[in-house]
Symmetry: C5
Subunit: 392 residues, 5 copies
């Protein structure tokens, strides 16, 4: 029944990013027009109109519904049961301002929630905890990822989550756990719920990162076998994406560290233990990420030396062929000269020998053979072949 209360957004979503056009925009944070009033909200006109979903639960009961007006939350927030209000979409200033009033959010904090993207952080303000996180999900075509800001406002009995858009939501499994009463979630407070969701977000980094392991391996093979302009494009792209991931995950590490050390009364000690586990996961994500960054950055050197190697091989072929044929051509040129043998016996007497032509060929074969043996010994002929075999 609840499943049906999460309808697909009617509005067709534009493709998230047109790769060629917007790739460097991904590095820009949101900011207000210099000089605008503090707390000004920026509404992207293409953004989805916010849908508000409420799940209200305690140990014995769970209610799930979509709300039409933010004000409908008020009775739930005051009850003792845990209320999870999930807002999906940032397309209406009016609705978002009303949400701000219902949850009594400071305008500067509402600004951080709405004007995306912001840097992940944790802030406590008036008995409310603001947690800004970035969630990553693999792209549909499997190359790269989509990054989305998810903001948490944690109060005593409620948790407000705000997502950029209805798609790419990894919270479904948690909704399941609440509805089917799996694990202890229904017996815990809103702080445990916030842990579950943040844990989901952190664990979502692992599959995205693992993917980069494979891509780097393939790319390394490609660069060694056949360095091309495409390789360098791919290297740059991976480095850029890993840089993006880095910017998303590092501040989350600081933020979760702050959550553990914080003395806020909104988090119970038992939930802090869970957040410690979550912190370990962030550290592992960062470990993997930095490893991949190091590997990616060494690929540029590999590329460069791979090209140099190749240029060297080309040069060897050219040199071998030149060194063999230049003396031969010279010999042929000599016997093409028109000195008159009739004038004196010193003038090209070879031309009149019976075995002149044969001798000439013999000379040429000996010259070429000497050169070939020289290169053979120098290893240029052999090496070229070995190098080729080594690759195919």
């Amino acid at each position: 029944m609840l499943q049906e209360s999460y309808p697909k957004s009617a509005k067709p979503i534009d493709p998230i990013q047109d790769d060629e056009e917007e790739e460097y925009d991904e590095f820009d944070y949101a900011y207000n027009e210099p000089g605008s009033l503090p707390g000004t909200l920026i509404i992207d006109e293409d953004a989805t109109v916010p849908n508000i979903f409420l799940i209200d639960y305690h140990a014995d009961n769970v209610t799930g519904m979509q709300l039409l007006h933010p004000e409908d939350c008020t009775p739930y927030l005051e009850s003792e049961s845990v209320s999870w209000v999930d807002v999906q979409g940032l397309g209406s200033e009016d609705v978002l301002q009303r949400i701000g009033q219902v949850f009594k959010i400071h305008p500067l904090i509402l600004e951080d929630v709405v004007n995306i993207p912001q840097r992940p952080k944790v802030e406590e303000y008036d008995d409310r905890l603001l947690i800004i996180t970035h969630m990553v999900t693999p792209k549909n075509d499997g190359i790269g990822f989509i990054s989305e800001q998810v903001s948490f406002v944690l109060g005593k009995n409620y948790l407000l989550t705000v997502q950029e858009e209805p798609e790419h939501d990894t919270f479904e499994v948690v909704r399941e756990r609440i509805h089917r009463n799996k694990g202890s979630i229904r017996n815990q407070r809103a702080d445990y719920l916030s842990y579950c969701l943040i844990d989901t977000i952190i664990d979502g980094f692992f599959p995205v990162l693992e993917d980069y392991g494979e891509r780097l391996e393939d790319l390394q093979d490609a660069v060694l076998a056949n360095p091309s302009s495409q390789s360098i494009d791919a290297i740059l792209r991976i480095r850029r994406e890993l840089l993006l991931l880095r910017r998303a995950i590092w501040p989350q590490r600081e933020a979760i560290k702050l959550l553990i050390r914080d003395d806020s009364t909104l988090l119970s000690d038992s939930v802090r233990v869970y957040f410690s586990d979550c912190y370990d996961h962030v550290v592992q994500v960062i470990d993997m990420l930095e490893t991949y960054r190091e590997l990616a950055s060494s690929l540029m050197d590999v590329y460069l030396s791979s090209i140099s190697m190749r240029t060297n091989e080309v040069m060897q072929v050219l040199t071998v062929i030149s060194v063999i044929f230049m003396p031969l051509t010279f010999i042929a040129g000599v016997y093409g000269m028109n000195f008159n043998p009739q004038v004196s016996p010193w003038n090209m007497p070879e031309l009149e020998w019976s075995y002149g032509y044969v001798t000439c060929w013999a000379l040429m074969i000996v010259t070429a053979g000497t050169m070939i043996i020289y290169f053979w010994r120098k290893g240029w002929l052999g090496k070229t072949r070995i190098a080729k075999t080594g690759r195919s």
Copy 2:
């Protein structure tokens, strides 16, 4: 009415910088002649004569005017209303010294305000807070930015701001907010005013930085498609400009951090909350900046490998053509030899064959064909084309 009290400076402003001549000067801080007296002011003779603008406001009223003498400020400074004195231009030692006396500024601090540029910093001295910031605005032609020092001296009821010159002023929006009573600015003290102005300055970094995203992207495409001397000039220029931005923004981060942590009585707790928000913005600016610096620094490697790739292609063309034509030329040379066929049947009998010439051509075509097939297999002919296609 007030709008008119900000006349354009009559004196024509020289072009800020002649790019070719002065670009490395931008990295130099101001300093006094070694051994000169502490507190010596350096007046650039081309600098604008200081204009002094006063805005004095409280919740119900606002007065704005241009003052002829620094001493005219005195009555306003002593009143309870907030007085914002904005000095534009650093072209007169006399006026600046008198401002120093009116505001009772320590000579070392006046030196920092007047001898530009100084490193951004915060210093408290005798119930007065000195804040030195750097403001950046995009250049008119959209490439690069102009950096200007803005100094703040914050007292109990007043704020003194000193700008290098009347142009490139981003404070207009704040003046508007005061005059039109937008937001809460008229109900706040001078510390909130200082926040508004500094926030404007910090937010001014975002559009300048975003611009670098686009320039880096264009440059990367250019470097991959066609590496030239111009590319390397452009890379060096972007790196130099990002270095300049870095030097402007990093010390401001430290300065604002100090403002938040400081226990000065000049800043109220509620304004400290606003400065925290401002600090988040500085951190986001730094994040973007460091990202762009990393991308810019990898461009040099891209450039180098792009040239190597290109040299490799040129070498392949040369090698292919040499390997094909050298044997052919040799064959032609052989049959251009003048061994006398009359002397013996061993001497170039081919020349007398009926189909000698045809056979010779056949030999040459087979040789060339073999070579072409060899290169085709090796991928040199194909790759050259693929590489070209990949680019156009």
Copy 3:
């Protein structure tokens, strides 16, 4: 007798890694499906079914046996003697969960023990100390190493160790010391036992690292003598493996530091002294590792300059041969022209000279000689030879 209680695992072990396929997987930490319940265990279906070995000892007596059920441990855990329970293999969720119950391990900690690999760490929880370490052993073929997670749960009178698999076990020497009562181990508590085992693990890094010294030296010689595609493969491989070692050893340094500084009652002061010694060893391992990493990373530069050097030599050969033969071929070409000497005395009179041919040869020899002397002076002929000698 005890020896026989450690049977070889019946199940044939798959080769640990198929180099080409899985090498980048080594960098990935284990993680749960995002959104899964905290404490979910991941069981690899190829993993060995856990074997449980118990050694229970005090100063006068020692008992060693293989247990069929985890619950058989209970009486030993409660006795005053030291009980070492060694679990080898992670192939059965049921057995592992029952071990968790017998030792009263928190589900999050059991998750860290079972879902391998995790980042090394130390955590105290409910009077139990969890220590996660990585043990390395050289591969059978002597190239590279096998890394295995070993988890320690230290209680008052017992130590639980969990290994990934029965093979590659370096604990045999410690079992010996217990059984043969060598040193003071039988008179000490479980904390000393944990020290002995961890010390064994840390010392196991030394021989693995020493091996890299030799490999780097061989590789450097190979790169200088004959840079090939294989060299770069080998450099990348060594760098990847050193990166893996680094990721294994650095967190262990932090972990052991924590053990020394910790105020846990589970470690006595005298054992802390031993752990300080162990910490010194970790620092020495890290010192060696970072040195090798620096040497490995400079190898890429060596490779690149080695290729450049070689290309330079090839170019010199080509240039020398071209510069010598091009003028000669030109001279031969001139005297192959067919200007008619009969028409005028200006038309190639040389052809009719008695010593024309001889003069022509003299001219060619002088030309070639001049070139050779020029190159000799320039050092190209000599240098090529010196370079060759320098290598062989």
Copy 4:
């Protein structure tokens, strides 16, 4: 009158450094023969014999003279007025030892003052403050700088300064200020005097550094336009000099920080404010220095890519000319063959055509034209020209 009491040293000074010989020596600190007694003084036999100058002043009076014996200072040191003893030259162990006795300097401190160069530092010992600084002055020829150690021993009423040699002294302006009673210096104590001198030393770094801005800019232009062996010499030289500056200025930053934070009674609070200003200047010097170091270090990459670019251009010229002339030479070679047209109509019938020669030229022109058009499209001909234009 006092001016005359500073006679030029009679002894002719050797040129400071013979560039080729001693440049790497600049990086070496002074040290005693291993095992020598602590406090052993090393006297360079070429060093100037120390001249001792005394300026003794209070608000109303100033006395300046050259002293013959260190012991002559004693009465001045005990008076209430401020005594500045300036020792120039380190050429006599006897005089230096006697100075040590007069000022009661610990032998280890005297060692640091005499055995130059030492690392800049601050040390307090027995109510005396030792400050070791490095002073830089531009070389006469404007390229590079001269570095000289200046040591300060600050007591209650006196300041002892020790300079390496009489030349390159930037203290003249301070002497002027004392004699002409400019600023407040005559009303202040010895601590203010030490500030004035150290400030002079720090500010002396600015003009030296600014010079590097210009040199780097010129060098960058030179490297881009025409990379040569001289360029790399110049890059290495600038990097070495900036490294030297870095070693001089960084420890001074630490030293001045220590002075500000120190709780020594030798410095009054008002002078500490001045030292804070001085600290800001050091930080600005370091900022500029690190910027120039970053720019200098990127020049090596620029050089390398500039050469690669140039090699690429050379290769293109060679390839264009080869690709055009090789086919032409082949065609000419074909029609130089001696197949006998009389034997059969298949043997080179072209030779007997009326328009054979003309056709042959047509063929050659078409071939060459095709090649030229091919290169034109590929951009090789055009680009070469653009590249040239872009430079000149």
Copy 5:
């Protein structure tokens, strides 16, 4: 008399290192077989049998002798006079264990003293201070250095020093000072003696390092003038040796810092002042070392660009010669064609001209001249010469 009590070791010492074989071994620390008992001593069978030398002194008297048994020390250790026991050689486990018993050294500490090399460190244990240092002495052939571990065990009235071998001992000067009563050493305690010896060890780094300055300068000149395979070997060797020095000196800095800050009663305050001076020396050594490391690491770039420069020059020579002779050879080829002039006036009429041959030569000279002028303008001919001149 005492001099004779230091006989040369009878056993001939093997050459320290066979460069080709063991160079990477230098980076390996000593370690015990994994799993061996803590405190196991490793005795190298080639090591010298320990000689034990005792110097016992107080202000008025000094006794020096060689001891046969470690137990002979006991009476001296208990007396009030300072006893310096110097053990040279690590070749007998029995003797070393007995020394351990005489001095009551903890087995883990004895392990650090005997199993060389260990990382330098300071440890206090049971009223005894263990200091492990590395001493470097220049090699006999002047290239490189020999590193030797020297361990200090400092007690109340005695100092035990343990050296690897009798050679390469820099302690002779200190023995002299004791015997000849130079300086204050005879009036001081054992802590001052330890300072004297450690100071000797630290100062021993200076001459070794200075040597690298000269080697780097020579190498830079060599690399710029004539980059060869030997250069890269030399660069790698210097970098490896500087890395070794770095590993020896950095931990000593930490160790001496610890000595100064330590609150051990074994060191008096006045000796701590001396150790501060010693710390300054370590910092200066590190400063010099890091400078040389930076210079050495830039040499690889210099090498690479030097080769590129050279390749570029080779390419220019090849291109110039090709561009000049290819057109000439083509022209000669044209007039070597055999078109029959008899058939028609269009067929090579030039051959029949009176001045055909002369015209042909004129054409060739004009062509070659044009090319030469082109290259002259382009600067290739000139530059090649300048480059050469610049070097010689």
